[in-house]
């Protein structure tokens, strides 16, 4: 993560804003950060695939959903805590990701990007319907007492479990940063993302990079799916809204900018929390989300002076 002089004034503004929010309504700050963690953690794997394999995976949310159901099933069947069931689920997701890539996505890489878009759209529909046939649309939720873990500061009590998502997001960002900048494979992957033909010329196995990165992304999404399941109810179409939100977040951060996702999600999470905290305004939080996205995209385009 780059910490040059340009970023410092933004950090100062950010801290000031956070302090202001905390003074007005401390829980808004807490919940905003927690929500940001959730968005960021789900968006980072999508950014990874988009930045290196250059495909928009419209089945991203469904991958989350499938992992959540797998975790639920394994946890219930074996009587495990979902955090433990996470391990076999990672294996399941790895296999699933590998299969999806080899059977379908690999064959559209040479085709126009739109083909990949609609292919993943078809995969999303298929996964949703498959789960519907197996589980029906009735919601499922495991009861886990630690999810209600709470902390009290004075009169206010708030939930602390959701900081898990913040931790996951940061861990993912840091781990990926190390992976992509310090390991040989990671550096090769970055090269492929920037220039696949050039990378092939210097001898990098581009196909191998694609397979590994896609499978890795599915595994990471799978982990998030397991965690998601502990906190939220699951049903076959639970993933859909997250796909588009992540896509927007990734676009806002800029392709390939993983740390940007952390900042972006923080802004969005806090904005949502603030709007929700104002009486009668909660219906407008969605607008704020999308206006911010348009704003950031617009400012960036203006700065880069696109045609």
């Amino acid at each position: 993560m780059r910490l040059n002089r340009k970023v410092i004034p933004w950090i100062v503004i950010g801290v000031a804003a956070a302090a202001a929010i905390a003074a007005w309504k401390p829980t808004a700050l807490i919940y905003g950060v927690q929500r940001a963690g959730l968005y960021a953690a789900i968006a980072i794997p999508m950014a990874l695939v988009l930045g290196i394999v250059h495909i928009v995976n419209l089945s991203h949310g469904e991958t989350l959903m499938v992992a959540a159901y797998a975790t639920y099933t394994i946890a219930q069947a074996l009587g495990l805590d979902p955090w433990l069931a996470l391990v076999p689920v990672m294996a399941v997701m790895a296999i699933l990701g590998y299969l999806i890539f080899q059977l379908t996505i690999k064959h559209t890489l040479k085709a126009p990007e739109l083909n990949q878009l609609i292919l993943t759209f078809g995969i999303a529909i298929t996964l949703t319907q498959l789960v519907t046939l197996l589980y029906t649309t009735q919601t499922r939720k495991m009861h886990l007492s630690y999810v209600s873990a709470s902390l009290s500061i004075g009169e206010t009590s708030f939930g602390v479990y959701d900081f898990v998502f913040v931790a996951m997001a940061i861990a993912m960002a840091v781990a990926l940063n190390v992976f992509l900048t310090k390991t040989r494979f990671g550096k090769a992957a970055v090269a492929v993302g920037q220039n696949p033909r050039g990378a092939a010329i210097v001898g990098i196995d581009v196909q191998k990079v694609y397979v590994v990165i896609f499978t890795l992304s599915v595994i990471l999404t799978g982990i998030m799916g397991s965690l998601f399941m502990t906190r939220q109810s699951i049903f076959p179409s639970v993933g859909g809204p997250y796909t588009m939100k992540c896509f927007s977040l990734v676009a806002m951060a800029g392709i390939g900018n993983i740390s940007g996702i952390l900042y972006g999600s923080l802004v969005l999470g806090l904005a949502e929390a603030v709007i929700n905290g104002i009486k009668g305004m909660s219906g407008w939080s969605n607008i704020v989300f999308f206006l911010l996205i348009i704003g950031v995209i617009g400012v960036r385009a203006f700065k880069e002076r696109k045609i």
Binding site: V56, L58, T104, H107, T108, A111, L114, N115, L117, I118, L119, F121, G122, I123, A124, I125, T126, L127, T128, Q129, L130, T132, L133, G240, M244, F247, S248, A251, M252, I255, G283, W284, N286, I287, F290, L291, I293, I294, I297, G298, R300, A301, F302, K306, I307
Partner: protein
């Protein structure tokens, strides 16, 4: 000789479509209306695509048109035809204004911005309870033609023929060259004198007008508007799938794609009541994998092979 035959086929197709209600019942007519709606949306999406811009926001102008039409009828007492036309112009106006902000963006940024705009329209209409009726929606006292299946069918057919005509116009006029040039290489296009912004603005405004028109016709055919149905997520991505499976950058492609997917989905529903959507998803995957240029793309390839 070629010109005559290339004219006869489409004309006979239109005549066939127009005469369908004479030998097919109310159920196929209702299915056909759904097919026409998706066909028209897919065509408007494809027209803009020919310039290289991928829109995820066609449902935004469709929904705007729906609501404008129904509000003009319910709150201002306008007759249906006037309301639909006014609603289309309203959608075009909004697109024109937004175009100055949005058409400077490219690729994924443009796509996400169109998505964001559609969401913003939806939220505004959803929250503006007093005017739009809020999440519960608004009902029209009367459906047009009193719900007569044939009349509704011909209305829908008329609507899609207008969209087809516009698509053909975009293919045959000078716009075709400008848009293709922009799609292939903007810098080269600019150098050869194409006013990129003007072309994009015209295309964006016209396609948004059409999307508003489709929405207006829909709302008068079914007699109500609700935010969830006017801005239904299916209208965002299914027209894309239809255009792609049929063959993009063409008028025939979306037509073929809409008929294929529309009829297939209804047929599957009758055969597999619980679970037909699964097969539907598989069809999309298989066609994209094995017919990457779309069905019309196959036809075009075959034709160019024949012509040497």
């Amino acid at each position: 000789m070629k010109k005559i035959t290339s004219g006869i086929f489409p004309i006979s197709l239109v005549l066939l479509a127009a005469s369908l209600p004479l030998f097919l019942g109310a159920y196929p007519q209702a299915v056909a209306r759904s097919v026409f709606t998706y066909m028209a949306l897919a065509l408007t999406w494809d027209i803009l695509l020919r310039s290289g811009q991928v829109s995820f926001g066609i449902v935004g102008f469709y929904g705007l048109g729906s609501y404008a039409a129904i509000l003009l009828a319910v709150r201002a007492g306008m007759p249906p035809a006037v309301a639909i036309i006014a609603a289309s112009l309203f959608a075009a106006l909004i697109a024109f204004a937004l175009g100055f902000l949005v058409l400077r963006l490219r690729a994924m940024y443009f796509s996400i911005t169109t998505l964001a705009l559609a969401e913003i329209f939806k939220v505004i209409i959803h929250n503006w309870n007093s005017f739009t009726g809020g999440p519960e929606g608004i009902v029209l006292p009367q459906v047009v033609f009193n719900g007569d299946s044939r009349a509704l069918y011909w209305l829908s057919l008329g609507m899609v023929l207008v969209v087809v005509a516009v698509s053909v116009f975009f293919e045959k006029s000078r716009l075709h060259y400008s848009l293709t040039a922009i799609r292939n290489n903007e810098i080269a296009a600019r150098t050869s004198g194409v006013d990129i912004f003007a072309n994009l603005l015209i295309t964006f405004t016209v396609t948004s007008l059409l999307q508003g028109l489709i929405g207006g016709v829909q709302v008068f055919s079914y007699g109500f508007a609700m935010p969830d149905s006017a801005f239904d997520g299916n209208y965002t991505l299914l027209p894309l799938a239809i255009a792609l499976l049929g063959g993009i950058h063409s008028t025939w492609g979306p037509i073929i794609g809409a008929i294929l997917l529309g009829v297939a989905s209804e047929y599957l529903k009758l055969k597999i009541p619980y679970g037909h959507l699964l097969v539907y998803g598989l069809i999309i995957i298989l066609v994209i994998l094995f017919i990457p240029n779309g069905i019309y793309g196959l036809v075009r390839k075959g034709r160019s092979k024949r012509n040497g």
